[in-house]
């Protein structure tokens, strides 16, 4: 998978939120084989200086940090967050996520589109969380997005891909990296995403909140590989009726 001219061997991107501890998070990431992880930008705790730091557990030299704008509800907040993120470590590759509704967490696409334009003009490489709307995906592409990241279902819902048709249409219209972001619940959901022709998937809750996060991290790793292989291998046509697998000739009578 190539994003912003950089080659990644793994097509699985994982989030670093919702884990019980930093060490659990680090181990799950290792097992998932992911080379990109999403991270949030938040205030440093100035009263408790002994709080463990993410960078002490996940080495940003080995794993690409993808700062996100989770929790931002307008363009202004999102831009402020990502400009700060760039200042922390000089990253230009970022994930833009501007939410519009506190309950369903759907993206506000008008604010998202505005922010994409501004960030692209400032030299950011913007991977954009968006709705599974082909027209909006096209607009993002025209505004300078580096990757299109449509949701499968609401963030953290675990519902899996709700609109395969839209994802296929977006796949057919864009050469940009297409990454399913949000809403996956189990490993097979990732396989389906890859079989639809997506370049990758982004998973957080499905791994972090699984009963056995380490096993689920491994399952997602394998599911993404299987889905990609299946897509490249090319599936058979679909038929309404049965088609025998064994020859009809030479049957004993």
């Amino acid at each position: 998978m190539i994003i912003a001219k950089k080659k990644f061997n793994s097509r699985l991107i994982v989030g670093t939120g919702k884990y019980k501890s930093m060490s659990e998070c680090a181990k799950a990431i290792k097992l998932s084989g992911a080379e990109i992880v999403t991270v949030a930008v938040r205030r440093v705790n100035i009263t408790d200086k002994n709080k463990p730091l993410l960078m002490d557990y996940i080495d940003p030299k080995k794993i690409t940090y993808l700062p996100n704008t989770a929790g931002c509800f307008n363009s202004k907040e999102a831009l402020r967050t990502l400009r700060l993120a760039r200042e922390i470590g000089g990253w230009k590759l970022v994930k833009l996520e501007v939410l519009g509704d506190k309950q369903n967490l759907f993206p506000d696409m008008i604010e998202t589109l505005k922010s994409t334009e501004v960030l692209a003009n400032e030299g950011f490489k913007v991977m954009v969380y968006c709705n599974d709307d082909p027209l909006m995906a096209k607009r993002l592409e025209n505004s300078g997005a580096e990757a299109i990241m449509p949701l499968a279902a609401p963030i953290g819902s675990g519902l899996g891909i709700q609109n395969k048709t839209n994802i296929k249409i977006i796949r057919n219209q864009t050469k940009l990296p297409l990454i399913i972001d949000a809403g996956l619940g189990q490993a097979s959901d990732a396989t389906i995403a890859m079989e639809l022709g997506c370049d990758g998937v982004l998973v957080n809750t499905a791994i972090a909140k699984a009963k056995k996060p380490f096993d689920m991290a491994l399952a997602f790793k394998n599911a993404v590989i299987a889905g990609r292989q299946s897509y490249l291998a090319g599936r058979i046509d679909k038929y309404l009726y049965g088609r025998a697998s064994s020859p009809k000739t030479g049957i004993i009578k």
Partner: protein, 72 residues
């Protein structure tokens, strides 16, 4: 004994009292913050970390110090 004049500022939303002529660099050192792992805003303006020793804090200044944490 001469009383040292203290200035009130806000750091990450919390009130903090600092001596006069205190730079952002002094503040970062005082809070024991690993400068390479954070970004700093001074009154909503992102500042170049190389220049923090040149910025002297004034009364009611607002400082935000952020870093990366786990997120999806």
């Amino acid at each position: 004994m001469q009383k040292i004049k203290k200035i009130q500022i806000r750091v990450n939303g919390k009130v903090k009292f600092i001596p006069a002529n205190y730079s952002i660099s002094d503040l970062v050192k005082n809070l024991n913050i690993p400068i390479k792992k954070v970004a700093i805003e001074h009154n909503q303006e992102i500042i170049d970390k190389k220049k923090i020793n040149r910025i002297i804090l004034k009364k009611n200044d607002k400082i935000e110090i952020v870093h990366f944490i786990g997120g999806g």
